[in-house]
Symmetry: D2
Subunit: 392 residues, 4 copies
């Protein structure tokens, strides 16, 4: 059983502390009431995110490994569990918005309690390399929830009729896109997937060959201006651009623009971190779902890149402001294996009826992105910071 | 235009102040998070009740009658409107639980603002007898919401897996029921309905004759002990006692006991204002719906009284701990007329598919009950403080 | 045990035969395919009606009373049972339209088989006065289904895009309404309910006193012309006339006219037994639900009569073309008692959330109507031959 | 404009006639009632299939190309259209089961009318090579519906409580599977997709390279015996084998066995073309969905093959009794292009949230299968004749 050396311990403790603090700093601009609500099933209340990420460390690190560890509150397991079927009964996701207790203050006390125990544990002689990996997974898990926190906070505030701003202090504003050119790559056998020493999720593992045909990919993301052209050319009313399922979605939801766009007094307004503002036309379009990304591409005479094309081409363009929809379904890489135990449920169980997104977004924590990262959502979801890069 | 004399003004101002304060005192034991959630459509978030009752005075008294009145926030009309179709667009009821803003603090400031303007207005020379009636309606409206506040708070806390207590300080505990005897009344033409000078709702007006047959009515409410017998005699599994619709409800919801009852470690526990406690068998059964009340009566070989029977017999028994289900559908009294304008929507529009409840509950504010009062709910609802009185 | 005399037997056998034949004659104009479909849950496939009415005699008369009776097919109990909870598992109502077998031919053979056994049984010495009552109930049950057969056939054909005619030969056409005058009746204690020797349903039994106030009731039904005025005066777009529930129904279903009305080429067309025809303005309006009847009355400054008013006044006007909505909820008469056994489920279990209709319709079999008859439907239902009589 | 030579015309007319007759022969064992019903949205009434396939020829061949062609009935376009958005309004799919008219007899007359016109047209000088392709598409379209006819007929009869047999005369019985061995193939760049002169669907076009890793694939299909082991080993109650979505499906539908399996008197029975029979353990398992196929493979320590692996390996094993689930999502091949016009909607619009099946089934018409054929269904569907081939 490998004991960690002092340097590694110091680094890990410091990293643990930094990641944990970042979750709290994301919530600083909130009022207590904002922590509680859940407007749709996809969105979790911020206080749930804060509790759930803490529960991960309590359940997978402290309880099984730290002798005499006393849970902060035994009932929290029931409240903050998510989809891990091996860990007792779970709360139905859409019920999260009904729970006024534990209070926000209780949850911050829960975080402080678990953090202090974790700091003790990390420097104890119970700490092993295998557990270091699990801590690292916990920290990456928390970073995923940091992105979700921002995504969900935007939804909660952006669906309030008062359109409150989030914060003027946190800089999450996108840059203007440069004019796009097409980057050409040649056919051949390429390699994709993660093969470094550092952390990655199980779904990226297993670097492997793929055959790519000649393709072209845009150097920049589709802008709001370009997307407005699609709207004005009747794109949401012409079934020819849409998947049958996407067309049903358009008609049923009566969608005519990206999420957060509102046509007010003859102008397209956009709910942003600063409240309601006029749409900035040179920014990358955001908050569109796969159906919309795909319909836009069809209207433009292009297509979405596959995830392999994206990964191979990614060194030739800037990325990181939007999660970019690909034309690839979320499926296991060759040789994919679920890990044993509850942690093994992490990714594989979602490999059906989801599309892959590549890149990262402005809400992604620093250090949590890489060009092999495989994000995934259902084709209908658009509350994420999603965008479009065209290919041919 | 009748100007009010000083005494009447002082009385009204003092009554206004007392009623408004009582709403706040009901919420004192709450944490901020408890004000926000809406677990089911029937339940409104406490902060919505506080805002909505305030909106009533702002919309119906201050805006049309107080010159130069400046609304606290023009968007609040949209947020705190309820079902009054004549007053602009309304929020879909089930959306109330999604709104984190206005914050609880904002709403208390809203209340303070409107209360100060109301105090000015009540003593101004704009105040008339007709407006006094409207203020009185607003205060009775607020008292109705005080009862709903308690009802909804119990639901919110009672459906939290931590089962938090509400408050030890507020005394809302029921008394033990005396053994019931049957009170006999003779057939004949009787009069029911309200005919006094003081306030009543439009649905009670129009005192009128009804013919009653000989009947008997119980001197006391059905107790938890009696209801447990029904449960133990398989009452929830024998369709013969149930309306077809009630039977569908039982099977679909898999109900086997009153709301808030939990069978834990071989004991029937009950969520009360003090948290989870063993069921007190001599108290009146509570939180059952019309289907259950009716099935219980059928099992016992009795029936529910009609609302006319109840009103005529009410001077012969104690009432006021439970709203009591009657066998009467909620329909207009002879000669019922809707009043003009938004206030006219108050009651008449609900006169379909609802059953009448008579009496009052422990959550009813003092002075807000009378034996002509007609409460009404859908046969399936059981979050109210409802009980059973048998008849024959 | 009372044995029937020969005359009574001959009469009963002949009546049995006549009623049973009438069901078949209603179906004569149908094509096989028309017997099978179930466009909505309220409508049953005609072949189900033919089987279910036969099942009644097999289940309640032949099986328990006729020695050595061999069921035509033991599985038919499962297929043709309806809502009688005491008789085994029931088919979910909305599933009836999925069953292609038993075929129409099989069901006619089932009818012939049961009819021949019934004729034998009726003249056997097993036949008693109690059983005669049960046979009579079965025949009245079948007559109810004859009306439903016509109602459902109209729905099936009238919701087919080809709008096929039913039959030119069967005369079910309504008469023109005379101009209406108001009939005045004085307040007092009246008696309603059935008290004759002949057959009635359990819900009409128990003749009893009611107190009526002075009232007026129209001598004729509301015509299509009058109803068109309501439509043209924006009646479907003004919430003030509607119950809250009715208004939700209007908005959700986007209803703007009675069922079967279609606005084509600037004319109101009506699907009738002869296919699509222009609306005949002097006929009584038909196929409106309680919400519509009630909103129309409110618009006109009238109300619907109570069922007691209707019954007392009925000798003063013609009725029998439309089932007429009353303002009375369907509730038990004083002293109402469920009968024991499966037959006891006949009516009482539906006494919640239904409104009473009085009268009869052109689809009601001859001899199956009386002024004490209590029909009932949910306030939203309009596939029946319903109409409006105003009161004040 | 290429005119067809006489031989090609004779061949085409004869092929047209043969394909069209086969649809009729599939329906020969049906009773009229069986043509009408639609138990679930996935299933279409047989008479709709017969009409829709006829509508294809009328709409795409005769109307635009045959001068003076008079449609059999102009309203049939509305009734028999399916999902072709460019061709007028479409009937909501789930409504098909409500239409008793046109009658089965009418539809057979429709078929005869269109067939006689088609025979005239095929030998006319209006017939071109481009139209020949379109006729060929129409015939392949009809063959797809022949398979669906059998699939839907089995569902209709197999969900009838009488479990009627379809026909003893038509031989659609599966063979016993040989014991499976694993076939090994080496990594490398392979080619897949259609590149012959003959007919194929647009989704198979564009033969292209793919890189495959070393893999093994089973020589035979999974048998009922093997699948029963999965059931008996608690496979349907252990979430570890299932996708999250599949697990939700299991719990919500309470599924414990393949479609058509019934556990009766301690035996697994199976609804087959001959009625209810004991499960034949050596036959290939059938009527399982992707979730089940995938869970079975996970339980067994294997996986499903990708569609490329299947196509490359297909020459090494027998196939054609079951459509075989692959682990590939249904996505466009490189260079896929929708064709212009209504025919362009054929396949591309479904390329989201569907999984690819390869092979063919016993219900597939002769001559309608090839190893490049890409069938596709949603992961939850199991009414098709689907099976499992394992890979590693």
């Amino acid at each position: 059983m490998a004991i960690l050396n002092t340097d590694r311990i110091i680094t890990l403790k410091s990293r643990y502390s930094a990641v944990r603090k970042h979750s709290v700093s994301i919530c600083t601009p909130l009022q207590i009431e904002d922590y509680v609500v859940q407007p749709i099933g996809d969105v979790s209340p911020p206080k749930w995110h804060l509790g759930h990420t803490t529960w991960f460390f309590e359940t997978f690190i402290l309880q099984p490994n730290f002798p005499d560890y006393k849970p902060f509150d035994p009932q929290y397991n029931f409240v903050f569990n998510s989809y891990y079927e091996t860990i007792g009964a779970r709360v139905i996701r859409t019920d999260r918005g009904n729970l006024s207790r534990p209070s926000v203050e209780d949850i911050y006390r829960y975080r402080a309690y678990v953090d202090s125990k974790m700091q003790l544990f990390l420097e104890s002689d119970r700490m092993t390399a295998a557990l270091e990996d699990l801590v690292e997974l916990g920290l990456n898990h928390e970073q995923q929830h940091q992105e979700l926190l921002l995504t969900d906070i935007k939804f909660i505030l952006g669906h309030n009729p008062l359109f409150p701003a989030y914060s003027q202090e946190i800089d999450l504003s996108p840059s203007d896109q440069d004019p796009a050119s097409m980057i050409k790559l040649n056919a051949g056998v390429y390699e994709i997937g993660f093969d470094k020493e550092s952390f990655c999720f199980d779904n990226e593992k297993g670097r492997h060959q793929v055959y790519l045909h000649d393709f072209e990919i845009a150097s920049a993301l589709v802008t709001n201006a370009e997307y407005r052209e699609f709207i004005e050319d009747n794109g949401y009313h012409d079934f020819r651009y849409w998947h049958a399922e996407g067309w049903d979605w358009v008609k049923q939801t009566e969608t005519v623009a990206p999420l957060y766009w509102h046509f007010i007094d003859e102008k397209w307004m956009n709910y942003t971190w600063n409240g309601l503002e006029e749409v900035k036309m040179d920014e990358a379009v955001c908050h569109i779902n796969f159906y919309e990304a795909s319909a836009f591409a069809a209207w433009k005479g292009f297509r979405l890149p596959t995830e392999a094309e994206w990964e191979i081409a990614s060194k030739h363009f800037n990325w990181g402001e939007r999660w970019e929809w690909t034309g690839s379904a979320y499926l296991p890489y060759p040789g994919f294996k679920k890990e044993a135990g509850a942690v093994g449920e992490y990714n594989g169980k979602f490999m059906i009826n989801q599309m892959v997104l590549r890149g990262a977004s402005l809400a992604t924590p620093k250090g949590h992105s890489r060009n092999t990262y495989r994000n995934f959502f259902h084709a209908s979801q658009r509350w994420q910071f999603t965008g479009i890069r065209l290919a041919k």
